[in-house]
């Protein structure tokens, strides 16, 4: 993985000193709350329902075990012993004290981490495929380019006061595992006819109040022009994006208002002027320098073995649902479920983090990946170590065999923590877990993704859930709007609302009825999403609301 050099280390240390000074000026009354807000936000610090919330960047979801131990240390020392992994592959702490935040940032800097630009109207953490570098279907490892983008976008003097936040996702496989089509910019690595690496460029995707999929504005940008092309897009957005209405300020609104063709023309015109700017040109040597940081670990030459013979049904279920194919024979990727029934989705304790770090050092490559659906991955586990890994994870309550099933839910912190939320999410996750506790039923249902947000801001990606749940507030009462048919994996699609919002107690029952329709109507081997696409929303609505809804 990437290691800081003197420039990186200096920059992060100076950023900590800057924030320490800003915090002191705020606490001394020299900065007003209004003046301090944009400054603290650019360091990932929100003021939430109970306390400040600190969001720490996990660049493209990759952590060393040393870094994971530091995250455990922060949870222990400054928080209540846990952290929450997010859909942007970051981690959030819900209980720090403002006066301690500069110390937390200094601790993070000691392991080459930071909270820079994890909030605010600037370029956020660049996200990627959590199987990057190990996926059998990969064209090329996207992470060197993610790191290049991370550096280019960090403290960018021109783009630190954008109209609104800006999110970039990069994928290296034909199958999108990074929800790239719902990002402000989605970059898909591909090769041209000559085998040259470049990117398909999508712009203007996003969720929130105006869910929309990104539009392709360029089929192929050769990799040497990646930064100049990004700079052209950001410059057009910075100049022409709306600033009069916070709900109309994302780049998707600009792309929609201008039309894709006009927007593309503006970008191309700007790019033509800066494409040969030497400071933006990515030469082969620089790419090679970055790629050297992401070389695969020294894999052993192993034979493919069948680890499932004579194993318990429990292990077999875990193997089937929580492990994935690896590009190297004899290895598997292991998904750690942060979706145990009694735990808020995405939460992890300090003890679990420490233990996982030890485990990753022992059975994997000393690295851990954070997925955008709020789980962790050990990327390089030998097949012969799978049983030991499973036993260790089981003891940590991280082996719930539910990855890709109904209870592997994406869930935002919701009303319990977030000051933006209109409704609770965590209690709904619990309701769903209580109702759907029979694994045989879950396995029979197969792949179903539930995604849930406690408000329109859609941190829980509800629009792209196979089943989406959106919490809304009506006169002080929590209601939940249900959508079906959304997806961000493979082919992206936005879900369709099935009908009026349902009451808090009725969410699990509503989902049960939706699933009944699927079970009755599915054809051979058809997944939930395919059935919805084939028969449409109507049969599901009828079952939930009755014929006359």
């Amino acid at each position: 993985m990437y290691r800081y050099d003197e420039i990186d280390a200096t920059l992060v240390a100076e950023r900590v000193a800057q924030f320490r000074d800003q915090t002191r000026r705020f606490l001394d009354g020299k900065l007003s709350e209004d003046e301090f807000r944009p400054l603290r936000l650019r360091n990932g610090l929100y003021i939430q329902r109970h306390a400040p919330m600190l969001r720490v960047a996990v660049p493209y979801g990759l952590l060393s075990t040393r870094q994971l131990r530091m995250l455990a240390h922060l949870a222990r020392k400054y928080d209540k012993g846990y952290g929450h992994f997010t859909t942007r592959q970051n981690i959030q702490y819900n209980w720090p004290e403002l006066k301690n935040v500069p110390d937390m940032l200094a601790d993070l800097a000691s392991v080459e981490m930071h909270a820079i630009q994890t909030s605010g109207n600037c370029i956020r953490n660049t996200t990627s495929d959590h199987f990057a570098g190990i996926a059998p279907d990969e064209i090329e490892d996207p992470r060197p380019y993610c790191e290049i983008i991370r550096q280019w976008s960090t403290l960018h003097p021109e783009f630190s006061y954008l109209p609104r936040k800006f999110k970039i996702a990069v994928t290296g496989s034909p199958v999108d595992r990074a929800a790239s089509e719902v990002h402000d910019i989605g970059l898909h690595m591909k090769r041209d006819a000559n085998g040259k690496i470049g990117f398909e460029v999508l712009v203007g995707g996003g969720l929130g109040r105006m869910p929309i999929l990104g539009k392709v504005i360029r089929d192929f940008i050769p990799r040497e022009y990646l930064l100049s092309y990004l700079e052209a897009i950001l410059r057009i957005y910075n100049q022409e994006g709306r600033r009069d209405n916070i709900h109309r300020a994302r780049i998707k609104v600009l792309v929609k208002a201008k039309g894709v063709e006009t927007f593309r023309a503006l970008v191309e015109e700007e790019w033509a002027r800066i494409r040969d700017d030497a400071s933006l040109l990515l030469d082969d040597a620089e790419v090679a320098r970055m790629q050297a940081f992401f070389q695969p670990p020294p894999y052993e030459k192993l034979a493919e073995i069948d680890v499932t013979a004579n194993q318990s049904p429990e292990f077999l279920a875990w193997y089937r649902y929580n492990t994935r194919a690896h590009k190297v024979t004899g290895y598997r990727a292991v998904v750690l479920s942060l979706k145990a029934p009694e735990v808020p989705p995405g939460d992890m304790t300090d003890a679990q983090m420490d233990a996982v770090a030890d485990l990753a050092d022992r059975v994997s490559s000393g690295q851990v990946r954070v997925t955008h659906d709020q789980n962790l991955v050990l990327g390089d586990v030998r097949q012969i170590d799978l049983i030991e890994t499973w036993q260790a994870l089981k003891a940590l309550n991280l082996a719930t065999p539910n990855i890709g099933t109904l209870t592997d839910m994406i869930c935002c912190p919701g009303l319990d923590f977030c000051s933006l939320a209109n409704a609770s999410s965590i209690s709904i996750a619990k309701q769903i877990n209580d109702r759907f506790s029979d694994f045989d039923y879950l396995y029979d249902l197969g792949h179903v993704e539930i995604k849930m947000s406690g408000c329109m801001n859609a941190c829980g990606h509800h629009h792209v859930g196979n089943i989406g749940i959106l919490g809304v507030d009506k006169h002080g009462i929590e209601w939940y709007q249900i959508t079906i048919g959304g997806s961000a994996t493979g082919i992206s699609a936005l879900g369709e609302v099935i009908g009026p919002s349902v009451g808090k107690e009725a969410v699990a029952e509503t989902i049960a009825r939706i699933l009944d329709v699927y079970v009755e109507r599915r054809e051979d081997g058809e997944e939930f999403l395919q059935t919805v696409r084939r028969i449409g929303v109507e049969p599901f609505s009828e079952r939930v609301y009755g014929k006359a809804h």
């Binding site: 800057q18 003097p157 630190s160 400071s279 990515l282």
Partner: protein, 162 residues
Amino acid sequence: MAKLIKGRQPASSPWVLAGTEGAVGASHLILPLADYIKAIEAGEPADRRAPLLKAENHDLAPLQSYLGKVPLIAVDFTSTGDGRGFTQARLLRERFSYTGELRAVGKIRADQMFFLARCGFDAFELLDDEDMDTAIAQFDRFSVAYQEGSGNLTHTRRRYGG
């Protein structure tokens, strides 16, 4: 008198923004871009008139033929969060090769000094409640950067290309 920083020091200036207190009878006037062009075309003294770019002036082409004689360009930040002025500054410096004084005015804050200077501003009009020393200290907040920019950082290194 507005609080002004130039050359990283407190400075004074004869320039007054049209329409503000003290503008009547002032010798050096900063005028909105369209008014500036009119004034020059009407024969007003080019060394004592300067254009003010508003955030919405993203097309800088009308200014191009005057760049040889403008003594000063002011860029207005209508709100602290409105970052269009950063782009205007870079375009003036990099695309239009403007080398004269580039002054940030309006609602800029001390904590933006580093980015403003990196984008090419070399004069900064502070709000009344801003502390001069705090603002000046921010120029040296970072000694390194990942991007090319104006000014000499102690440890700048090109990260990409070349």
